[in-house]
C-alpha cells in the first residue's frame, strides 16, 4: 500500500509504473529505477525496498502469470470458434448475403475486378470504424455518457439474444435436435438476461469472463460468415495498421480517448474489457460507490456500437464496438491507475489494506482483440486447404504475438495496440503454411516420411 501511495505521489502524471505493474515484467523495473522511483511491482502491503532481490524473479513470474491469464481465454475463444466452424456448416456457407458495410461483391469475372472490389469493401469498412471511433471519442469528450451507455447496452442486447438465438438454432439443426419454441425461449431468455447482468452490472468473475468469451466468439463467427474472402483478409491487415496508428499517433482517436480518461481520472469502458480479476476492489466498493455511480455509466463497454439503425437481420453492427474493445487492451492498464487512486483515497479512513495483491491485479485485454484473433483462426480453419496444420500454425503465431505485445507493454508501460504483432504473425503464417508447408507436409504424409 505504501508503495502505491509513494508511486502515486511521485508519478502524478506518469502512469507508467502502474501500467507496468500490470504485466510486471523485467524491463519495467529498470525504467522505474532510472526515474528515481522505488521499484514497484509488488503487492503493496508486503513490499519493502530490501526485497529487491526477489523482485526480478517474482516480476518475471508474475509477468508470465499474466501472459498465461490472457493465453487461456484467447485459446478458449479460438477453440469455440474453430469447433463451431468445423461442426456447424452454417457459418461456412456463403449465402450470398453480405453486410451493408461491404456492398461490393467478390464473385466477379476477373481477378483484377475482384481485387478492386475487395479493396473498396475494406476501405468502406475501415472508414466506418474510423467514423464510429471518432463519434465515440467526441461523445466521450463531451460527456454524453448516457448515449454511449445506451448504445453499448443495446448492442450487447442484440448480441446476447439475437445472435445467440441464431447460433443455437444452427447447432440444433446440425445435430438434428428437436426443440420446441417454449423451451428455446426460456433458454435464450435466461442466457441473455444473466449475460446482461454479468456484463453490465455485477456477477461472478468466471461467469462474466465466460460470457465475454462467448460474445466475442459469436461476433467472430458473424464476421467469418458475412465477410467475403479477400475482404476479410484485407480488413484484418488494415485494422492492424489502423490500430497501430490510432493508439500510437499523437492525434490518434484512441490515444485521445485514453488521455481524456486519464485526465478525468475515470476508467474507460470497464464492461467490455476482458478482465482476469474483479475490476473494483472488494472493500473499495463501499466508499467508491458514489463515485462509481457517476462514473459507471461512462465507462461503458464498448462500443458494440454497431447495431446501426438499419436493423437488418444480418447487419452486424458489432464491428466498431468490437473495434473499440480491442483498445481496451491498452486502456486496461489505465484501470489500475484508477484502482490505485482509489486505494489511496481509502487510506485515511483506516480501512484494512485491500486483500488484492499482485496476483489479483490481473490483466485486461479488449474484446476486439479476442474477436479478431478468433476471426483469423476461424477463417484459417474454414478456408485453408491445409486444414489443421494452418489452424495450429495461426494459433501458435497469434499466441506468440500476444506474448511479444505483453513484453513490449511491460517495457514501454503505455497504451499499446494488441492487434498489429499478432495479426501480422497470423497472416504471415496463414499464407505461408497454406501455400508452402501444406504441399510439403502432404507429400510427406503420402510417403509416410517423417521429419
Amino acid at each position: 500500500m505504501a508503495d502505491h501511495v509513494e508511486n502515486a505521489v511521485n508519478n502524478v502524471s506518469n502512469d507508467g509504473t502502474e501500467v507496468g505493474r500490470h504485466t510486471e515484467t523485467t524491463p519495467g523495473r529498470n525504467e522505474v529505477e532510472l526515474n528515481g522511483q522505488p521499484p514497484t511491482a509488488r503487492p503493496p502491503q508486503v513490499l519493502t525496498d530490501s526485497e529487491e532481490d526477489e523482485d526480478e524473479e517474482l516480476t518475471l513470474k508474475y509477468g508470465a502469470k499474466h501472459v498465461i491469464m490472457l493465453f487461456i481465454p484467447v485459446t478458449l475463444c479460438m477453440v469455440v470458434v474453430v469447433a463451431t466452424i468445423k461442426s456447424v456448416s452454417f457459418y461456412t456457407q456463403k449465402d450470398g448475403q453480405q453486410l451493408i458495410y461491404t456492398p461490393f461483391r467478390e464473385d466477379t469475372e476477373t481477378v483484377g475486378q475482384r481485387a478492386l472490389n475487395s479493396m473498396l469493401n475494406a476501405a468502406i469498412m475501415i472508414s466506418v470504424i474510423v467514423v464510429m471511433t471518432l463519434v465515440l471519442v467526441v461523445l466521450y469528450k463531451y460527456r454524453c455518457y448516457k448515449v454511449i451507455q445506451g448504445w453499448l447496452f443495446f448492442s450487447n442486447l442484440l448480441l446476447l439474444f439475437f445472435f445467440s438465438f441464431i447460433y443455437l438454432g444452427e447447432v440444433f439443426k446440425t445435430y438434428n435436435v428437436a426443440m420446441d419454441y417454449f423451451t428455446l425461449a426460456v433458454i435464450i431468455w435466461n442466457f441473455g438476461v444473466v449475460g446482461m447482468i454479468c456484463i453490465h452490472w455485477k456477477g461472478p468473475l468466471r461467469l462474466q469472463q465466460a460470457y465475454l468469451i462467448m460474445i466475442s466468439a459469436l461476433m467472430a463467427l458473424v464476421f467469418i460468415k458475412y465477410l467475403p474472402e479477400w475482404t476479410a483478409w484485407l480488413i484484418l491487415a488494415a485494422i492492424s495498421v489502423y490500430d497501430l496508428l490510432a493508439v500510437l499517433c499523437p492525434k490518434g482517436p484512441l490515444r485521445i480517448l485514453v488521455e481524456t480518461a486519464q485526465e478525468r481520472n475515470e476508467p474507460i469502458f470497464p464492461a467490455l474489457i476482458y478482465s482476469s480479476t474483479m475490476v473494483w476492489l472488494f472493500n473499495m466498493a463501499d466508499s467508491a460507490e458514489p463515485r462509481n455511480n457517476s462514473s459507471h455509466p461512462v465507462p461503458q463497454q464498448e462500443n458494440q456500437d454497431a447495431v446501426a439503425p438499419t436493423a437488418q437481420p444480418e447487419d452486424d453492427g458489432g464491428f466498431t464496438p468490437a473495434w473499440v474493445n480491442q483498445q481496451q487492451h491498452q486502456l486496461g492498464p489505465m484501470q489500475s491507475t484508477e484502482d490505485s487512486r482509489r486505494e489511496i483515497q481509502e487510506l485515511p479512513s483506516a480501512r484494512p489494506p485491500p486483500v488484492e495483491d499482485e496476483e489479483e491485479r490481473g490483466v485486461k485485454l479488449g474484446l476486439g482483440d479476442f474477436i479478431f484473433y478468433s476471426m483469423l483462426v476461424g477463417k484459417a480453419s474454414a478456408t485453408a486447404s491445409g486444414d489443421w496444420n494452418t489452424t495450429i500454425a495461426c494459433f501458435v503465431a497469434i499466441l506468440i504475438g500476444l506474448c511479444l505485445t505483453l513484453l513490449l507493454l511491460a517495457i514501454f508501460k503505455k497504451a499499446l495496440p494488441a492487434l498489429p504483432i499478432s495479426i501480422t504473425f497470423g497472416l504471415v503464417f496463414y499464407f505461408a503454411t497454406d501455400n508452402l508447408v501444406r504441399p510439403f507436409m502432404d507429400q510427406l504424409a503420402v510417403h509416410q516420411f517423417y521429419i
Binding site: D53, D55, E56, W388, I400, A445, Q448, Y450, I451
Partner: protein
Amino acid sequence: MTVAVFFGCTFIAFGPAVALFVFTIARDPLRVIFLIAGAFFWLVSLLLSSLVWFITVQISNKNSATQQTGLLIFGVVLSVLLQEAFRYGYYRLLKKANEGLLALSQEDTMPISIRQLAYVSGLGFGFMSGAFSVVNILSDSLGPGTVGIHGDSQHYFISSAFMTLAIILLHMFWGVVFFESCERQRWWGLGAVVISHLVVSCVSFVNPHYQGSLIPTYIILSVMAAWAYLCAGGSLRNLKLCLTCKDKDFLLANHRPR
C-alpha cells in the same frame, strides 16, 4: 476408420506428451510460455525448409516421379538440419535472455534453469512436430473410408501414431541432450543429436515396411532416453531409490512418510 481408431491413435500419439505437459509444465506459466516459444521456433524452421523445397519443386521437372521423390528426400534432410539449427538458435536466445535476467536480478539463481528450459523447449519442438505430422491423418480417420484399399498398408494409422509418439519423445530427449552438450561444449554430443535425428528421418524412407522404420526408431528412442536421463543428472542409484520409494529428498519434498 472409426471413432475408436481416432481416439486410439490420438492417445497413442499424444498421450505421454500431454501427460508430461499436464503434470510438469501446466502449473508453471513460465514453462508454458517457453514451450509455446519452442513450438514457434520449430514452426519457423519448417516454414523455411518448405520454402526451399517449394522453390526447388517449381524449378524442377514435375512429371518425373523419381525426381520428385529425390527432391522430397532432399527436403527432409534439409528440414532436419534446419530444425537442429533452430534448436541451436533457440538455445542461444535462451542463454541471452537468461543472462539478461540474471544481470537485472542481482541474484544467483534464475527463475528457470537451463535444464528445465532444455526439457520444455524439446517438448515444444516435439508437440509441434507431432501435431503437424499426425493431426490431419487423425481427422481423416474420423471420416469414412477403407484403409489400404489400393494395396497400401492397412496399418497406416497405427504406425503413424506410434511413429509420432516416438518423434515427440525423441524431440524432448534431443532437446535435453543438445542443451547439455552446448553447456558443456561437447560438440560430439551435438553431432550425435543431429545424426540420430537424420537417422530417424531417413529410416522412415523405408515405410511402409514398418519393421524397418519403427524398430530402429524405438531403439534410438531408448538410447536417447537413457542419455537424456544421464544428462539430467539421473543415475542407476537414483532410479533404484525412486522406484523403491526410498529417495529421502523426494519424499521430504512431497511430505510423504517413507
